[in-house]
Every structure is written in C-alpha cells, then in structure tokens.
C-alpha cells in the first residue's frame, strides 16, 4: 500500500515567531487589535487608559487575575457599569486578550509623547513632507493611509515605530500592490480588495480602480513599504513632537 501513497510534502515552514507570552501568535494580536479598535478604543482609548481608574495596557487588572477572567469580562461586561457585554466567539475574545497582553509587553515609551504637538504639525506639513503621501482633515495625498483619526486607533509606541521602521509591521489593510496590464502599463497602489477575478486599488493618482485579472500579465504585493524611515532624518525631539501630533489626531471636528 505504501508505494501508492504520495507522502505528505514537508510543511513550508513560514517563519512565524510564536509570541513569547501566553502562546498568542501575531495573527491573534492582529485580530485582537482589530476588535479592540472597533469595539473598545472608543471608551478605553488606544492606550487603554481613557476610562478613569482603568488601565488596560499594563497587564494588571482590578477585576481579573488571568486570561479566562478577562475573557469573561469582555464577553459578559460588568454589571452596573458602562462596560458592555460583547457578542464575540470564544476565539475572538481570546484574540482581544492576546492584544491586551501584547499592549502590556510592548508598553509605551512615555518620553515619546512628551513633545509639542504644534511643532509636530509643522514638521508633518513641512520638513517631514508627510502630506506628500498622507492626508489629515482634507489636506494631503490619499496614497498612504489617512491619518485624521490615527490618534484614536494607534498607540504612541506603534506610531513611533511606524516612523523609525516602517517595514517592521505593515498592517494588512496598508499593503501595496502592483499590476501590469496586457499593454505593458504598470500601476501601483494600495490594495483595497481582491478576488479570483478582479483586483481593487487606490492608485498613486488617487483613483479607485478595478482590474480584471484576465487583463493582467503580472500582479504582486510590494515587498517593502513605500514609507521612508525617519530614523536619520529627524532628531529625537522632532520625533517626539511628531508622535505627539499624531496622538492628538482624534478624527474630524464635530460642529
């Protein structure tokens, strides 16, 4: 019988670092972040410190001593308080916990946010040339992610890392893609969607475009982030001004 069998091919070992703490994977952290930002950040803030008396970002909780306890709080809420129950699956609640643990393990460098947001804004629009790619409240380019509400969805430690090592973590929704059409034209842009038959991009001319895969000769993700590193371009105080400015970006102003 054995001769009939095609032996299982060796697994293509993706280099997936198992995050050290609590067996969470990068995938869990990413899933958990997404859930945290859309369900929790509104009250708790991106750093987990916006509810008075509660600190979600430091790994110490008043009402939970372990992951199971945290899951229960997330799923059931806290009776008699503003903390609501959530209709997550067990798996989803687990990823949120993974993200809370990740927050604690990568806690914020407090000095990064002690800068001057107004000076940071000047760097953003001037020396840093950030608006050539990013948009804030209606001005700047759309080719890179809009940053108008970046202060409500990212932690300062993440913002700082985006400036120093843009390639360290590119979120799936910020991936760049390049296609070559049959007539030889190459178009690059941020990938907005894809399926078996089509690809959707926001191209570098800021156009929303759809391509039929059958019209393409090549298509591939870009390996590197188009964002330059500012490690050697900005001084430490300039970087903390810039991060302080990004943290201050909390969305459009309601009138």
């Amino acid at each position: 019988m054995i001769h009939r069998l095609l032996l299982a091919t060796l697994p293509l070992l993706l280099s997936i670092p198992l995050a050290a703490q609590h067996e969470a994977t990068q995938g869990d952290v990413d899933d958990g972040r997404r859930l945290y930002i859309s369900n929790c950040a509104l009250c708790h803030g991106p750093e987990g410190g916006s509810v008075p008396g509660v600190e979600l970002g430091h790994g110490k909780f008043l009402r939970a001593s372990n992951d199971e306890g945290l899951k229960t709080i997330i799923l059931k809420g806290i009776a008699g308080s503003a903390m609501p129950p959530h209709t997550f699956t067990d798996f989803q609640a687990g990823t949120v916990v993974a993200y809370l643990r990740y927050m604690a393990a990568s806690s914020t460098d407090a000095t990064a946010v002690r800068g001057n947001a107004a000076s940071g804004k000047a760097i953003f629009e001037g020396k840093g040339n950030c608006t050539s790619c990013h948009r804030v409240r209606g001005s700047g380019s759309r080719v890179a992610p809009e940053l108008t509400d970046i202060g409500t969805i990212r932690r300062s430690v993440e913002l700082q890392r985006s400036l120093l090592e843009p390639d360290a973590e590119v979120l799936p929704q910020n991936r760049y893609f390049r296609v070559t059409t049959k007539d030889g034209t190459t178009i690059t842009g941020r990938l907005l969607n894809q399926d078996a038959f089509t690809v959707q991009l926001l191209d570098l001319k800021e156009q929303l475009v759809t391509f039929s895969r059958s019209d393409l000769t090549k298509s591939a993700f870009l390996d590197r982030s188009p964002m330059p590193s500012y490690k050697d371009k900005l001084s430490a105080p300039e970087l903390s001004d810039l991060v302080s400015y990004l943290v201050s970006l909390k969305g459009i102003v309601y009138q």
């Binding site: 019988m1 969470a24 038959f197």
Partner: protein, 550 residues
C-alpha cells in the same frame, strides 16, 4: 359515467402510470438519476455525487445564464441549505428552521412553515440548517433544538414532531435527513459541548425511534476500550451532513465528527471510536457493519463530517490487477483524500490534497502514521491543515463524466494548536480543552488583503485513481461552497468572495460568473421544469436561481 369524472379518473391514472409526478416513492429516490429534472435528496441521489445528468447548460452556452429569481430569506443566519425540487416545486429552509415551498420557475411562495426552536438551542457554529428530505407527500427537517419534524409537503402543516435529543445538553440537528425505505435517519451535532453523539432512524409514519447507533462506543460495544475511563460519556462524535446509501447492500454510510474535548486528548486516551470515522450501518437495524477511522485520537478537530461519495469504477488493486469495484471517495478535513471499498471498508489509498504535516504515511492496515511531536502543546504547535481543515462539511462532487473528484479546499492553511487542561465538563457548556490559534490574522472583513501564502480557497480536481491533482482553481479568499458537476462537463461553485461561478470540469477554466454579493456557503443544485434547466444556489441570505437566456 359522468364524462367529467371519467376525464378526472383517466388523468389520475396517467399520473400514476408515468410515476414521475405525485408521490416521491423510495424507488424514485434510489433511482434519482433517471429523473434529473428533480433533485430529490440533499446531494442529488443516495450515492451523493452532487452530479446532474441535465445537459442543456453547456460550457459553450453557460455564458448566457441569467438570473430568473431570487428568494430573500427573512433571516440573517447563514443560508446553507440545498433545496429539493419535486415536479416543479422547490422546498428549502430559511435558517434556522422555517420551511418554504416555492414555484421553481417563478420563485413565488406557496407556503411557509415557521418553527421557533427552544431558546436552549446552542449549535456551535451558527443557527443554520442544510436542508430537507422528502418521501411520499411528506417533508422531514431536523432542527437546531434537536427535533425531527414531518410536514405535509402540500400545505406545510406539521404531521409529527419528535424530540431526538436534549437541546439544553448541547445537541442539535443541522443536516438534511436521509430517507431509507420506511425510515428517516438523522444524527446529532454538538461535538464542542461534550455530547455523546448518535445516528438514529425514525418511522416515517409515526416519528417513533426505530434504532439508534452511538457514534461514541460505550459499554458492551467492541470500540469501548478506545476510550479511557468514563471519557466516552462526553465523547462528542457529531453528525453534520447527510449520509449516503447503497441499495445493493442496504448499508448507510455516515461521517462522524471530532472527539471531545476537541484539542486536549489527555482525558480520552485511545483511538476514540467512532469519532472521525466513516461508519457503515445496516439501515434496517442500525448495526455497525464496518468502520474506518481517518484520524484516530484526534486533537486537531478533524471531523469526518463530509458527505460519503459512492462510485463504481475500475480499480487497480495492490497486485496490479484492475477490476470493477464498489468504492467510496472521501476528501477529509485532515487534508487527505481517501478511497475505500464500500462493501468491506478496506482502505485502498490515501493521499494529501493540501499540505499535511501531522502524519507521514499509512501502515499496512491504512492507519495514519503520526509524526512525533505534532500534537497540541501548551506553547502551541503549528499544524497543516489548520483547524477548519483542508476541507470541511462543504459538499464535494464526483463526475462520472470526467472521472474526477472535486474538492472545495483551503490551501496553505495552518493553525497553532494550544491545549489547556483547565476544562471541566458541565452539561450543555462548551467542552473543548484549548483553542487553535492562527499564525496569520484569521478574521475576515468585506475587504481581502491576503497574500497567497497566508491561505486561500480553491476548487481542486483530483484523479481518484491516483490522488493526483489535475487542476486547481484559486480564489483569493477561502470557501465554504459545495460543488455541483453536470453531465455536460460544467462545474458550479462559489466562495466567500461572493461569486457563483462555472468552470470547465475538465480543465478548471472559468467560463461564467455572477456576483451574488454574499458568501456562497451551500452546495448548488440543478433541476428542470418544462424542459428548461435551472441552477440554484444559496448565497448570503438569499437563494439565486439561474437559467439560459431565452
């Protein structure tokens, strides 16, 4: 005699003589391929090939398919049912358990039967239903609160309602029942709740239980020693999809789900029979004739909850001789494609159809040889395929025309299996022993940013004689869609991307697609009325029906 009465009597006699209208007899069900205008069982026939002999729609004209009607379910649950069609009337289930009869040509509703499941019902994976069975003028439905209900097919009124198992203890029925002679057969879901699963047959007329086969071997059963201590009491073994039937042997075949707790096998040392197995039962008595276990002592949630596909073809035996054989083909959640002798259960071949790293071949008896260390740990172990499997409950298809077997597959897909040991069984509560984790973001949104190496869905065409892959149709997102093939060499499927599409079954070339705007999480079926062929599929919360432009 009054001429009117005479006319009435002769037309009634003609109806009876044609045998194709009126009552759905069991003889009609087992010879379903003789009336391809109807779709009489979940998979289109008791051999479960999900293959239609209708040939009006062809690779040449499929581009002319156009939408005929949509039924929009008044339900936000996933629409996983495959419809039945009998003589121009389409029956389907609006999740969780409303039955709808529609005119198959226009989509106009004849009647609706609404059923409110007990609030205790807690199926693991959605309040869904996969379809109905019909015999005579009676429809049968299993419910998510583990009842079996018989309905009058003409007016949707209930005839009987039998409690099959306790919903409060975690039991549910999600699949379409199977009719064998004067019995209707169903099995229970609930493998994540520490149930002791079973398959049971009920009398068509009275709804009384005729026999029961426990999918978890207990006292007095030869498989009892495959469970340490009392672990059999909460052993799981759920049934998710409809079994098959072979009239030649009177055997009915069912795929059995995972042992519980899912991801930690420490408390249930042994092979854990008959979880992750196919069981062949005498359909009159429920007695086990044979079983084959795909994944002994599973800790990866590799349910064998697939449709057993029966086919007769020439097979090259070990000694090199080719002879006609009664076969069963099976693409398993564990990533391997199997061929078995369906009369004896003999293992004939097994080959990976996606990457597999938990086993490295088979021993003489067809038992998988495990790779040491490839088990869940508290730190986590990377296993291919991942927790949702290389495939899952999604219907495969076998085309006697192309001789190929078609699998809805998840490729490049893995999980990191973490086990916990603080899980204690409490009746009706989740009992799983850990959680698989994903090396890449698992959650999916309306947009898809995935790279190919992060996993994708595909339709795979396999030569069942060799297990060799003939072609692959890649999607960007994964798929929960079943596959339908036709005698005109078309293949219909879909996926989470929200397309319903047709491929050339010989080459995998895409021929036609419709953007249905929601995930296809059901198997398509085909029927004809007045000589016109239709293809119908559920996607999102609606049922879409297509036919050629006139």
């Amino acid at each position: 005699m009054n001429p009117r009465i005479l006319l009435f009597l002769t037309s009634a006699a003609m109806l009876a003589a044609s045998g194709l209208s009126g009552q759905v007899t069991f003889d009609r069900i087992i010879a379903a391929e003789k009336e391809p205008q109807n779709w009489l069982t979940y998979s289109g026939g008791v051999a479960s090939q999900r293959f239609t002999k209708l040939t009006q729609i062809t690779p040449e004209n499929v581009k002319n398919l156009e939408l005929q009607w949509i039924y929009q379910a008044k339900s936000l649950e996933k629409f996983e049912a495959t419809s039945l069609v009998v003589d121009g009337i389409l029956y389907t289930v609006q999740a969780p358990n409303d039955v709808i009869a529609l005119d198959a040509v226009t989509g106009r509703i004849y009647w609706t039967y609404s059923y409110s499941p007990e609030p205790d019902a807690r199926p693991c994976c959605g309040r869904i239903n996969r379809g109905l069975a019909i015999l005579g003028d009676t429809l049968f439905m299993g419910t998510i609160d583990a009842h079996l209900i018989a309905l009058d097919a003409k007016n949707g009124k209930p005839l009987w309602n039998t409690t099959v198992a306790s919903a409060a203890s975690g039991y549910a029925i999600t699949h379409a029942p199977l009719i064998v002679k004067d019995k209707v057969i169903v099995g229970t879901a609930g493998g994540e709740y520490g149930i002791r699963g079973f398959i049971a047959a009920f009398d068509i007329k009275s709804g009384k239980e005729a026999w029961r086969f426990y999918t978890v071997a207990g006292p007095g059963d030869p498989g009892r020693n495959s469970w340490a201590g009392d672990s059999w009491k909460t052993g799981g073994g759920s049934i998710w999809v409809t079994g098959s039937y072979d009239p030649a042997t009177n055997l009915t075949y069912w795929g059995v789900g995972n042992p519980g707790p899912d991801w930690n096998g420490d408390t249930r040392a042994g092979d854990n029979l008959y979880t992750n197995s196919v069981v062949a039962l005498d359909s009159d008595t429920g007695k086990l004739k044979w079983h084959y276990q795909f994944s002994p002592h599973d800790e990866f949630d590799y349910d064998a909850v697939q449709v057993p596909v029966l086919a007769d073809m020439d097979w090259k035996d070990r000694n090199g001789q080719t002879r006609p054989r009664k076969l069963m083909f099976w693409a398993n959640r564990n990533g391997l494609f199997y061929a078995l002798d369906r009369n004896t259960g003999e293992f004939l071949a097994g080959t990976p159809f996606v990457e597999v790293n938990w086993m490295k071949g088979f021993d003489e008896k067809g038992r998988p040889m495990r790779i040491p260390g490839k088990t869940p740990t508290t730190q986590g172990t990377l296993i291919y395929p991942g927790n949702q499997g290389g495939t899952n409950w999604y219907s495969p298809s076998f085309s006697p025309g192309t001789g190929l077997f078609y699998i809805p597959a998840w490729v490049n897909y893995s999980s990191i299996y973490v086990k916990t040991d603080d899980d204690e069984y409490k009746e009706g509560r989740r009992y799983a022993g850990g959680l698989p984790r994903s090396p890449v973001p698992f959650a999916r949104s309306a947009q898809n940013f995935r790279k190919e190496q992060e996993g994708y869905g595909a339709v795979l065409a396999i030569d069942p004689r060799t297990g060799e892959k003939k072609w692959e149709f890649k999607m960007s997102d994964v798929t929960d869609a079943g596959i339908l093939t036709t005698a005109s060499n078309l293949l219909f499927s879909g996926g989470r991307e929200g397309y319903f599409f047709a491929l050339d079954a010989r080459t995998g070339a895409p021929l036609w697609k419709a953007a249905v705007g929601g995930s296809v999480a059901s198997g398509a079926m085909s029927y004809a009325v007045n000589g016109k062929q239709f293809v119908s599929v559920a996607a999102g919360n609606s049922l879409f029906t297509f036919a050629l432009r006139q």
